[in-house]
């Protein structure tokens, strides 16, 4: 099977590759927006684990 034969998908190339391209873009968009959201929180201190029943991490005013 040649490359052009593979790409033509028996005449359905536009539909088959169109489907996979849109899926790739959708997944890529989700991953990019998620990595941006994560980066925006980079300066945020990591949450401190709490032990059940302790009040050591509670802030009292």
């Amino acid at each position: 099977m040649s490359l052009s034969e593979f790409l033509s998908m028996g005449g359905y190339g536009f539909y088959v590759w169109g489907s996979y391209l849109v899926s790739l873009i959708a997944i890529g968009a989700e991953l990019i927006s998620l990595s941006r959201r994560k980066k925006a929180l980079a300066h945020q201190p990591k949450p401190k684990p709490v032990i059940r029943g302790s009040i050591t991490n509670e802030t009292t005013s």
């Binding site: 539909y15 489907s19 849109v22 959708a26 929180l41």
Partner: protein
């Protein structure tokens, strides 16, 4: 080991971080294997030619859209009934990924419909109910975004999510209940599937990849939500002082 301690978002945060690579790496590998089997091992269909290869992304995406909605509604209900913050955050985190898979299923369905049915879209029961699923996800996301207090947003979202669950069996059984242009199920719970084993294998591998991908992405987003809410709570505490 006390498993209950992980119900606290700040305690679940590091555990989620450790779990992510265990899902993300196998997801990438299975996507590659699934596409290889789908394009190089599975034979050309005698009726549809190569157009049927859209199935390997279309069917797993459609299933994920439905599964994730049910999962979202379960987490939202648990978060509401038991006042469990982590479960509500999980529901919020699932919504984006579920919406994305539903979007993929609709678009790839249109790409498949054009060459096989001669139309990109018809208002058939299966397709209309799937479009409603996308609107339910969009409604859930925008409803939560519009309410500032996170716990109130969680409760409002839970009501919408639980009511919307009725749509999932409608999607699933639509091809039996109504005379639809969309074909009936190829894979059934009982009985033999009506496709070649290599086609079935490619589809199931892609489904597994989509599951693993979803878990990884939902956990990453969950960690973001935990941090954002902590940040928000800290800011409110400062204002209160």
């Amino acid at each position: 080991m006390n498993l209950y301690k992980y119900a606290a978002p700040v305690n679940f945060y590091p555990l989620a971080g450790k779990l992510i690579p265990w899902f993300a790496i196998p997801a990438a590998i299975l996507f590659a294997v699934g596409l290889y089997v789908g394009f190089f091992v599975a034979p050309t269909d005698f009726q549809q030619g190569d157009a049927y290869r859209i199935m390997f992304i279309h069917v797993p995406a459609a299933w994920m859209g439905m599964f994730l909605y049910v999962l979202l509604a379960c987490y939202a209900a648990i978060g509401w009934a038991f006042n469990a913050r982590l479960a509500s955050m999980m529901a919020s985190s699932i919504a984006t990924t579920g919406a994305m898979f539903t979007f993929i299923s609709l678009v790839t369905g249109a790409f498949w419909g054009k060459p096989t049915w001669g139309t990109w879209w018809v208002w058939d029961a299966r397709m209309t109910s799937t479009l409603i699923l996308l609107f339910l996800y969009a409604g859930f996301i925008s409803l939560q975004a519009s309410i500032e207090d996170p716990r109130r947003a969680d409760r409002a979202g839970a009501v919408l999510a639980i009511v919307g669950v009725i749509n999932v069996p409608i999607i699933y059984f639509s091809v039996q209940w109504w005379n639809t242009l969309h074909q009936g199920a190829t894979i059934r719970m009982l009985g033999k599937p009506s496709i070649a084993p290599s086609m079935l294998a490619a589809m199931l591998i892609m489904l597994a990849a989509c599951w693993l991908y979803s878990v990884a992405v939902v956990l990453i987003r969950l960690r973001c939500i935990i941090l954002e809410r902590e940040q928000n709570a800290a800011r409110l505490a400062e204002v209160a002082v």
